[in-house]
């Protein structure tokens, strides 16, 4: 077998989360109009202000058109053919405790390696699991409540904490922000809500697990995290979906708010179904993630490992409003087969002495296309702002591509902006060196790629860093040109 054929075979490892759970679900019929929006809001028994907000978003969405500026090729999406709500059928209105959750659902999460149950091996991590459109169960509630931390599904928060929702929802990503965020604002069905009170250090990692199960369903979840003054929280989201040969839309919105001296660390391990090697099927992952360092000395740190999805289109960003606030973005994005990734970040410096760091590692293999797109913007008010950007691309094989689009807008002369970029291949020298030490080709490539990603992986919480490495190993083995 030629070396190239071996590589092809190694790269062609299958997606491991592609099973479908046979579970009865209640879905709204496909289609989208004001009535759909009202129905979703009614199912959720939402307060009036929220229904109005959704409708406002929907009416605005009708005036917008799909953006086409990204370095990706998208099949046209028929928004009327999608169902905007799908929920596993429950005996009552919703599970009150883990015991009431359908065992099949729990088994699904078990298969995914997300143990919901408190006794399970990820002890110390509180998990909120979102299955299709609704939040299924949140573990570790009691311990969090004792600390004063609110961690629940978005739906529950609208019932129990409407004042917080009304105050903060849309305050970072307004409903008019962009096409997909606007759509999400109209039809979002669930998601996670976190509030960390003043001075509290959240006693455990918080985690949400997203899974798309139903066919022809869009997933539109919404996450809102508020870290009050002097508080600290670390949050992780993971995602998977079954293998289906049509494209599925995932258009989420995540809003983070950090007040004075607060810190939010948000980590993502995204492994949505990427489609097959010919580019059939896979998730369209069009997500708006933005955090605002609203308070002084606050800090927001995004870490993402993006290995899945047919198309990834997301730019977790930081608005650095508070003086001395800090924004960070650490990213590993992989595009294999025919995957397309257009991802990066925006760092908007508004406050004085604000600092931001961007470390982006793009890996392209097969016919994957990987683009880094980043904006560093320094407004006139941001005296002494500093940014450091490092942007590295690794290519495997001759048919993939890496693209870098760094945008810099500086309106204050005291700013310091540094940008470093590199593009490299796994060199034959490196590979042969490892082989000569007796290490098999597949292991050698993993070793080299993991080394390339190390500065990002070290930002992940320990147990997820291991998961991320394994995920990368499965998604990409042996591709060398």
């Amino acid at each position: 077998m030629s070396e190239n054929a071996q590589l092809q075979e190694l790269v062609g490892r299958g997606y491991q989360h592609g099973f479908v759970t046979d579970i009865e679900s209640e879905s709204l019929p496909p289609g989208l109009d004001e009535d759909t929006v009202r129905k979703i809001s009614a199912i959720k028994r939402e307060p009036q202000f929220l229904t109005e907000w959704r409708l406002k978003a929907f009416r605005h969405w009708l005036t917008m058109s799909e953006p086409h500026w990204a370095q990706v090729k998208v099949q046209p999406i028929d928004y009327q053919a999608l169902s905007y709500y799908s929920a596993p059928k429950a005996k009552t209105d919703g599970p009150k405790s883990l015991d009431e959750v359908d065992p099949k659902l729990l088994a699904t999460y078990e298969k995914l390696g997300v143990p919901l149950h408190e006794r399970a091996r990820l002890a110390g991590v509180a998990v909120d699991a979102v299955f299709d459109s609704v939040s299924v169960a949140t573990t570790f509630k009691d311990r969090l409540e004792k600390a004063g931390v609110i961690f629940c599904s978005f739906s529950e928060a609208t019932q129990k904490h409407p004042a917080l929702i009304e105050q903060y929802l849309g305050s970072v990503v307004p409903h008019t922000d962009n096409y997909y965020a606007c759509l999400n604002s109209a039809v979002f069905s669930d998601g996670s809500f976190v509030y960390i009170p003043k001075g509290v250090r959240c006693p455990m990692e918080l985690s949400t697990y997203f899974r798309i199960n139903a066919a022809k369903t869009g997933q539109f979840e919404r996450t809102l995290i508020i870290a009050d003054e002097g508080s600290h929280v670390s949050y992780l989201e993971g995602c998977t979906a079954p293998m289906r040969d049509e494209n599925q839309l995932h258009a989420a919105v995540v809003e983070l708010i950090a007040l004075d001296h607060a810190e939010i660390k948000y980590s993502t391990v995204q492994n949505w179904y990427p489609g097959d090697e010919n580019g059939v099927g896979g998730i369209y992952n069009f997500v708006t993630k933005r955090g605002e360092c609203r308070g002084r000395h606050s800090k927001i740190s995004w870490t993402q490992v993006e290995t899945g999805s047919a198309i990834t289109w997301k730019y977790p960003s930081c608005v650095l409003r508070g003086d001395n606030s800090v924004g960070e973005f650490y990213s590993v994005a992989l595009a294999n087969h025919r995957q397309q990734a257009d991802t990066g970040t925006k760092m908007i410096h508004i406050g004085a002495n604000t600092r931001s760091t961007i470390v982006s590692k793009g890996i392209s293999a097969g016919r994957g296309q990987n683009a880094y797109r980043g904006l560093v913007k320094v407004l006139p008010s941001a005296h002494g702002a500093r940014n450091f950007t490092q942007c590295d691309s690794l290519l495997m094989g001759g048919e993939c591509g890496a693209h870098t689009f760094p945008y810099v807008e500086v309106k204050n002369p005291t700013a310091t902006i540094e940008h470093e970029a590199s593009t490299s291949r796994i060199s034959e020298d490196q590979l042969f060196y490892c082989l000569q030490r007796g290490i098999a080709e597949e292991d050698a490539v993993n070793m080299i790629v993991n080394g390339f990603c190390k500065s990002v992986f070290k930002e992940l919480p320990m147990e997820f860093a291991v998961e991320a490495q394994n995920l990368l190993a499965v998604s990409l083995e042996g591709a060398v040109g």
Partner: protein
């Protein structure tokens, strides 16, 4: 241990090795000298199985078996070690991690279980002391930011940990100051034993002041054109290669 017969190697369109013969028995140290471009590194790469070094004729038997039929990693696992002339940097991969993976690959080949973490560290620390290397080497990336001398010492460290049966050292002495040369030579000498063989590829006699070879060969135009006792190296140092090249032509 190593029986090379009429070996021919092409690099691209060029035939670099043109019928090379060499026999190495267990316990021996052979020095291969020769002018630039004579094929010394090509010989080392061919034996290690580097892609792009195409064998167009001849045979190589290693411990009685065909070496050329093995993949590069299989040769390494079978105890063939190449100390590189220019060791490559692998950013972000710890030295200690690579070393452990390499050792475990060799152990697996011999049907042994993975090395115990504590035992491994004790072993590596011991060898590092021998090579006078700082503890911080372990956590640094493979050859990342190493000086030329540090890279060479790291090669010998790896060799000492892996304990190969046949060590091919490609210009291990180049770029070393006299102190580092002594350390490297000491490291190589500790590996000498009745079961092992070492092939030194070098330009200079000075390495051979510290590692005494049993045989010295002159490689020119892709062939061994002269073999002799250690004194041959001294003669080469004095007279250069021209007199031999004239003889061979």
């Amino acid at each position: 241990m190593l029986e090379i017969k009429d070996l021919r190697t092409k690099v691209g369109d060029r035939e670099v090795l043109r019928g090379l013969n060499l026999a190495v028995r267990p316990g021996e140290v052979h020095a291969i000298m020769g002018p630039n471009g004579s094929g010394k590194s090509t010989l080392a790469y061919t034996l290690a199985g580097r892609p792009g070094y195409e064998v167009s004729g001849g045979s190589v038997a290693y411990r009685g078996k065909d070496l050329l039929g093995l993949a590069p990693e299989e040769r390494a696992q079978a105890g063939v070690f190449l100390g590189f002339q220019y060791p490559v940097e692998i950013p972000g991969v710890n030295n200690v991690y690579l070393l452990k993976a390499a050792l475990n690959a060799a152990r697996k080949h011999r049907g042994l279980p993975e090395v115990d973490a504590f035992e491994f560290l004790t072993l590596v620390r011991d060898k590092m002391k021998l090579m006078q290397m700082d503890e911080s080497f372990l956590s640094r990336g493979v050859n990342e930011g190493f000086s030329g001398g540090e890279k060479k010492r790291n090669e010998i460290l790896q060799m000492l940990v892996l304990e190969p049966t046949l060590a091919l050292l490609d210009e291990t002495d180049s770029g070393l100051d006299i102190d580092a040369l002594k350390i490297v030579a000491h490291g190589v000498n500790t590996l000498r034993s009745a079961e092992r063989a070492i092939v030194l590829v070098t330009h200079y006699q000075r390495l051979l002041d510290y590692i005494k070879p049993d045989h010295v060969h002159v490689l020119a135009r892709g062939q061994i054109i002269k073999s002799g006792a250690p004194e041959l190296a001294l003669e080469l140092e004095e007279r250069g290669y021209d007199w031999l090249l004239g003889e061979a032509a």
